[in-house]
């Protein structure tokens, strides 16, 4: 008995979609468009975060040790002090000679002629947890006794972080606005179906059908539209991302920025798109039928 009943309700939901083909098509298209815009900005956000992480990995803060300290003194006294700072992820001691060697590895040896060890100071290479607090942490490191100078790539990090923040805010605003647009279109599509069935709804109410029963076909309609929209948007996003990825790698070269591969983010994209589709569909259905259920 239950099965028959659900079969009936689901069938009615599907029938609504095909009775209003054009509006159904329109609302699916709008949902796809909204999801793709949301997706583009979210993925951009993810990529910029990845770049910021990369910068974090590559750009350590260098804290130079007072000339008067020996290597042993410095690593013994200062290492733990630096490690105990809030925003510090790791601290590595680099002695004068090690610094010289790595410099020579990177650059031509001829450049080094005549430069001796004394030019290089003992130093600590420090990785941060949160790059956006670089300024504060730099100041804290400067306050440590025995540290004479701190080199931190604050400007570079700041720039990326402010770009990231702008994009995050724009994404969030777009997601909210487009969410409402989708909901508006969806609820109006379903309202069309409720309007076509207003006589039936009135009779359902008069013979004592429950509100959830009356609501059901319209929610099914919304869910189907939402899931179809979410699924198609996912496919479109996939194609778009792959094409852009190829373009960027081609034009910028592989080594400059590492693009997050779609294989790594697709579960997130798919789940988010379907969830948004389902939410918009179900809420749209509830909104559309709301007025009929008051009496």
């Amino acid at each position: 008995m239950k099965l028959n009943r659900y079969g009936y309700l689901i069938g009615e939901g599907f029938r609504n979609i095909f009775t209003h083909c054009f509006m159904s098509f329109a609302s699916v298209t709008i949902i796809i468009a909204c999801l793709i815009v949301m997706g583009i900005f979210s993925l951009l956000d993810i990529n910029i975060n990845q770049i910021i992480d990369d910068i974090g990995d590559q750009n350590q803060i260098l804290a130079y040790v007072d000339e008067d300290m020996t290597a042993q003194e410095a690593s013994a006294k200062l290492q733990t002090k630096l490690e105990s700072l809030d925003n510090v992820a790791s601290v590595e001691f680099v002695s004068r000679s090690e610094a010289r060697e790595s410099f020579m590895e990177k650059y031509d040896e001829s450049l080094m002629e005549g430069i001796d060890d004394e030019v290089f100071r003992h130093r600590f290479s420090i990785q941060l947890i949160d790059l956006s607090l670089m300024d504060e942490t730099k100041a804290e490191i400067e306050d440590v006794d025995g540290i004479v100078k701190v080199n931190a790539p604050t400007e570079f990090a700041d720039k990326f972080i402010s770009v990231r923040n702008v994009i995050s805010i724009v994404s969030l605003a777009l997601i909210v606005i487009l969410g409402f647009v989708s909901l508006f279109i969806m609820s109006n599509t379903i309202k069309l179906a409720t309007y076509g069935r207003r006589e039936e709804i009135a009779i359902m109410k008069m013979v004592g059908a429950s509100n959830s029963f009356i609501r059901c076909p319209f929610i099914v309609e919304g869910l189907v539209l939402g899931v179809v929209g979410g699924g198609l948007a996912f496919l479109a996003q996939w194609g778009l991302y792959a094409a852009l990825e190829a373009k960027i790698v081609e034009s910028l070269g592989i080594s400059f920025v590492e693009i997050v591969p779609f294989a790594q983010v697709w579960p997130f994209v798919l789940i988010t798109f379907l969830a948004v589709g389902i939410l918009v569909g179900a809420v749209g259905g509830v909104i559309a039928i709301r007025n009929y259920l008051k009496v």
């Binding site: 008995m1 009943r5 013979v207 004592g208 509100n211 029963f213």
Partner: protein
Amino acid sequence: MVQMNNVTMVYENSDVAALDSVSLTISEGEFAFLVGPSGSGKTTIIKLLTGEIMPSDGEVIVNGFNTVKLKRRKMPQMRRTLGVIFQDFRLIDKMTVYDNVAFAMRVVGAANKEIRERVPKVLELVGLEGREKRLPAELSGGEQQRVAIARALVNNPTMIIADEPTGNLDPVRSLELMLLLEK
């Protein structure tokens, strides 16, 4: 079965009362008629009984449910005890006679088997056998009304309410109908 206590009904968009302090009681097994000229408030009383509108004042008790105090969620339960025949029948144009009647059972959650057994019986009772596949537009006024009656009867309500059941019928048909309702 029905009790109305000092019911006053003033429609939102009007300033005169459609009903002014009406009290009435209809007991079980009673066959009650409400007569009055057009505009005297008969349909208003029916709408109050079905919970389609709420009284401005007073209370309406139908089959033990007080419509004013009833939670909205419980309203369907009250309505299932009623079979209503509307003045304008309110059949669904695009559904056949059979489907119009079956619809009323389906939407209160009846099983398909139950529907297949019950609908033909009720259609026979109102004299519509052989008309199952017709659309309302292909029926006479009297036949349409009998579809509406079949639909009101099909869920075995404890009370049947008919709004102007003989309003657009000739006297012979009216008599037939009265006999039918009395079954």
